[in-house]
C-alpha cells in the first residue's frame, strides 16, 4: 500500500460514501456542544421532527456565556441566561454521554473539558460549533469547527459532508528554550505563513520541537491552526499521547485499552508519505512572541518593534497595517518592550490548562502586579483545572501577587460575559484572537504566552520573560 499521511488515514477511516466530485460523507465520532451555536440546531431538529442519531457521541457544557465570579447569583444577564437554560433544556430532552452544566465541578471550556475527561481519543472525528475544535487534533483526531447548520446535520445524521483538504507538514526543528513555549511556536508560524496560509489545508505538526511538547502544549499549537487558516491541525500519536490518556474518565480500560493503544500507535504518517506543502520552523532560535496588530499574523519577537505601513509593498496590506496601528493606538517603530498595558488575561481554550497556570505562577511567585495594571485575571479552563491548581496552591500565588482568581469559562477571550476590556484599554492576553473589539468594543489585544502575560503583569509593559525565569 502507498505510504499514507496521518490525514489520509483519518480520512479513510471515516468515509461512508463519496460523490462524483469528491464530496464525501464522513462519520462523526464525537460531537461537542455548547450553548452559543447549538440552540438553532436543536430547534431545527425539532421542527423537522428528527431525533438525534447517537446521543452517546455528545459531550456538552456551558462555557461562552458563563460568568467567572458571583456564581451564587447565577447568570444575571437575562439573554445569556436564556441561552444557557436553552442548552440545559435541550440536553435534558435528548441526552448526552456527559453534560457539565453551569456550576458543575467539571464544567469548563469545551476544548479543555473534552480531553481532560478522556472524551477526546486518538483517531476520532471530533466536531463542535466552535472554530477552536482544532485543539483536539493534538490527540491525532480529525477535529474541526462547524457552523450551526452542520451541528444540526451531525445531530440528525452522525455525519458531515466534506471535501478533502490538501495536506501541509509543519516541521518544527529544535526545542523551545527556557521561557519560550508552544504559544510562541504557533504565533511564529502564523507570522510566517499568514492567517490565510493554511486555507484549504489540514496541518500536521511534527518534528522534535513538537515531540518535546506536553499534550497541553500540543493542544495550544493545534488550537491556533485555525488562526493560520487551517480548520484542522494535528499531531501524531506517541508515548506522550498514550500516557496522558491512561485512566481518564471516558478512556477505555482493561483489554479494550490495550486494543485501543495498538490501534492508536498506527496513527502516524507513514515513512515517505507526501504532503502538498511543507513549512519549517526552528523552535530553538525563537524569542517569546507578541502581536502588535489586529490579526494574529501581525506578530514579532519581544526584541522587535512595531512596523510601519510603508514596510509593506502590497497596498491592501499596507492599508491594513495603518488601520491596525490606528486601532491599536501604536506608533511605527515603537519597541515592543515600550508598550504599556492596562489589563492581563490568563485563560481561554488556548492557554488555561494546568501547565499554563503552573508556568504563569512560576513567573510571578514572590513578585507583585505592577500598580499601573488595573486587572490581572486568571480564568482556569475548567473546574478540574481549577481544583488541581488550588490543590497545588497556585491560586494563593496568584492572589498574593495581586491577580484575580476566577471560575472557569471562555471569559475575556471573547467577552460574551462581563469580563471585557473598555474602549482603549490594552491587554496582554493568552487567548487566540486580537481582532478589533474581540475582548470588548475598542479594546486592544496583544496575544502572548502565559509566561509573557505573567511577566507583563509584573512590569506593566511587555518584557522578555527569559530574564525572569
Amino acid at each position: 500500500m502507498m505510504a499514507r499521511t496521518l490525514y489520509q488515514k483519518l480520512w479513510d477511516d471515516h468515509v461512508i460514501c463519496t460523490e462524483a466530485d469528491g464530496t464525501a460523507l464522513l462519520y462523526i465520532d464525537r460531537h461537542l456542544v455548547h450553548e452559543v451555536t447549538s440552540p438553532q440546531a436543536f430547534e431545527g431538529l425539532k421542527i423537522a421532527g428528527r431525533k438525534p442519531w447517537r446521543v452517546s457521541s455528545i459531550v456538552a457544557t456551558a462555557d461562552h456565556n458563563t460568568p467567572t465570579q458571583y456564581w451564587e447569583q447565577g447568570i444575571t444577564d437575562p439573554v445569556s441566561r436564556q441561552q444557557v437554560e436553552t442548552l440545559d433544556a435541550n440536553i435534558r430532552s435528548v441526552g448526552a454521554l456527559a453534560y457539565f452544566p453551569f456550576r458543575d465541578p467539571r464544567q469548563g471550556i469545551v476544548h479543555v473539558v473534552g480531553p481532560e475527561n478522556g472524551a477526546t481519543l486518538p483517531g476520532m472525528t471530533v466536531v463542535c460549533g466552535d472554530s477552536h475544535t482544532s485543539t483536539h487534533g493534538a490527540f491525532a483526531c480529525l477535529a474541526h469547527g462547524i457552523g450551526t447548520s452542520e451541528v444540526e446535520h451531525v445531530l440528525a445524521t452522525q455525519c458531515l459532508l466534506q471535501k478533502k483538504s490538501r495536506t501541509m507538514l509543519v516541521w518544527v526543528d529544535g526545542v523551545a528554550g527556557r521561557g519560550v513555549s508552544a504559544k510562541d511556536i504557533v504565533l511564529a508560524l502564523i507570522g510566517k505563513i499568514g492567517t490565510a496560509g493554511g486555507n484549504g489545508y489540514a496541518i500536521e505538526f511534527a518534528g522534535p520541537g513538537i515531540r518535546a511538547l506536553s499534550m497541553e502544549g500540543r493542544m495550544t499549537v493545534c488550537n491556533m491552526a485555525i488562526e493560520a487558516g487551517a480548520r484542522v491541525g494535528f499531531v501524531a500519536v506517541d508515548d506522550t499521547t498514550i500516557s496522558y490518556l491512561r485512566n481518564r474518565t471516558f478512556a477505555p480500560k482493561g483489554d479494550t485499552w490495550d486494543k485501543a493503544v495498538t490501534y492508536w500507535r498506527t496513527l502516524v504518517s507513514d515513512e515517505g508519505a507526501c504532503f502538498d506543502s511543507t513549512v519549517c520552523l526552528d523552535a530553538g532560535v525563537l524569542q517569546p512572541q507578541v502581536t502588535w496588530g489586529t490579526s494574529p499574523e501581525m506578530v514579532t519577537g519581544i526584541d522587535g518593534a512595531v512596523p510601519a505601513p510603508e514596510d509593506f509593498s502590497d497596498p491592501v496590506k499596507s492599508e491594513g497595517v495603518a488601520r491596525a496601528l490606528n486601532y491599536m493606538g501604536l506608533v511605527p517603530r515603537t519597541p515592543i518592550t515600550q508598550i504599556a498595558i492596562d489589563k492581563v488575561f490568563i485563560g481561554s481554550c488556548t492557554n488555561s490548562r494546568i501547565e499554563d497556570l503552573r508556568i504563569a505562577a512560576g513567573v510571578i511567585k514572590g513578585r507583585q502586579r505592577a500598580e499601573s495594571v488595573k486587572l490581572a485575571l486568571v480564568v482556569p479552563g475548567s473546574g478540574l483545572v481549577k481544583a488541581q491548581a488550588e490543590a497545588e496552591g497556585l491560586d494563593k500565588i496568584f492572589i498574593a501577587a495581586g491577580f484575580e482568581w476566577r471560575h472557569p469559562g471562555c471569559s475575556m477571550c471573547l467577552a460574551m460575559n462581563d469580563d471585557r476590556l473598555s474602549p482603549g484599554e490594552r491587554c496582554a492576553s493568552t487567548s487566540n484572537r486580537n481582532f478589533e473589539g474581540r475582548q470588548g468594543g475598542g479594546g486592544r489585544t496583544h496575544l502572548v504566552s502565559p509566561a509573557m502575560a505573567a511577566a507583563a503583569a509584573l512590569a506593566g509593559r511587555f518584557v522578555d520573560v527569559r530574564d525572569l525565569v
Binding site: 461512508i16 466530485d21 462519520y27 465520532d29 430547534e43 452517546s56 483517531g123 447548520s149
Partner: protein, 212 residues
C-alpha cells in the same frame, strides 16, 4: 435552504482583507437563540458610532457616515465585494446569517476562510472566489460608477458585468447542485441512512471504545 440560480444586484465594495466574523457580527449578538434578525447588526462596530447591544432600536442609532455600507449609493446592495481571507476567525454561522439577513445574496472575494465558506453554502448565500486582477477591476468599476450591478449566473458559473464582459468562476459540482435546487443537506444525507448504519455497526466491532 434558499435556491440560488441567477441573480442581478447592486454591488458594494468592502476594501479590506482579513474581515473576520467578529467584525461581521460581534459576539454580543450571538446570545440570541434565533436564526434571523442579525441583519441590522451586520458589521455593527463599523456601521454605527455607538456600542450596539441586543434589543436596541437600531434605526435610531448614530451611523458612521464613512462606512461604505452607509453610503446612499450602496443602499439596497445584494452583492458584497471583499478582499482576501474573508470570514476568518470564529465558526459562527451568525456571520452568514447576518449577511443574508442584511440582504446579500453573494460575496465575491479573493479568498475565504474555510469554515465561513462552508457555512455560506448551508444557507444559500453564494461565496465566489475571484482572481486578484479581476477583483481589482470590479472594485474599480464599482467605485467609479454609481449603481453598478453584476449578474451572477450560477448555472453557467459566470459573473456577467454590465459591459457584457463575463468572468467564469469555479464551484464544486455537488454544492452547485444543492444551491440550484435549494436542497436540504440533511435530507440528502438521510438517503444514505442504511449505509451509515452499516458503517456504524462495523465501527463498533473494530473500535468498541468509541461507543461506550
Amino acid at each position: 435552504m434558499d435556491r440560488f440560480v441567477k441573480h442581478t444586484g447592486l454591488v458594494v465594495p468592502l476594501d479590506r482583507s482579513n474581515v473576520d466574523t467578529d467584525a461581521i457580527i460581534p459576539k454580543q449578538f450571538l446570545k440570541s437563540i434565533k436564526r434571523s434578525g442579525f441583519g441590522p447588526n451586520a458589521f455593527d462596530e463599523w456601521r454605527y458610532m455607538d456600542h450596539g447591544e441586543p434589543g436596541m432600536d437600531n434605526s435610531s442609532r448614530p451611523r458612521n457616515p464613512n462606512f461604505v455600507l452607509n453610503l446612499d449609493r450602496y443602499q439596497g446592495a445584494t452583492i458584497l465585494l471583499a478582499r482576501a481571507n474573508f470570514g476568518c476567525g470564529s465558526s459562527r454561522e451568525h456571520a452568514p446569517w447576518a449577511l443574508q439577513d442584511y440582504g446579500f445574496k453573494a460575496v465575491i472575494a479573493e479568498s475565504f476562510a474555510d469554515i465561513f465558506f462552508n457555512n455560506c453554502f448551508k444557507i444559500g448565500l453564494l461565496p465566489i472566489v475571484c482572481s486578484k486582477a479581476e477583483l481589482n477591476s470590479l472594485f474599480g468599476l464599482t467605485e467609479q460608477s454609481t449603481g453598478y450591478t453584476l449578474t451572477i449566473d450560477l448555472e453557467n458559473q459566470l459573473l456577467v458585468r454590465s459591459d457584457g464582459h463575463v468572468v467564469p468562476f469555479d464551484i464544486d459540482a455537488f454544492r452547485k447542485k444543492c444551491l440550484l435546487n435549494g436542497w436540504d443537506d440533511i435530507g440528502l444525507t438521510l438517503l444514505h441512512e442504511q449505509e451509515i448504519r452499516e458503517f456504524e455497526s462495523k465501527r463498533k466491532l473494530r473500535q468498541p471504545w468509541l461507543f461506550s
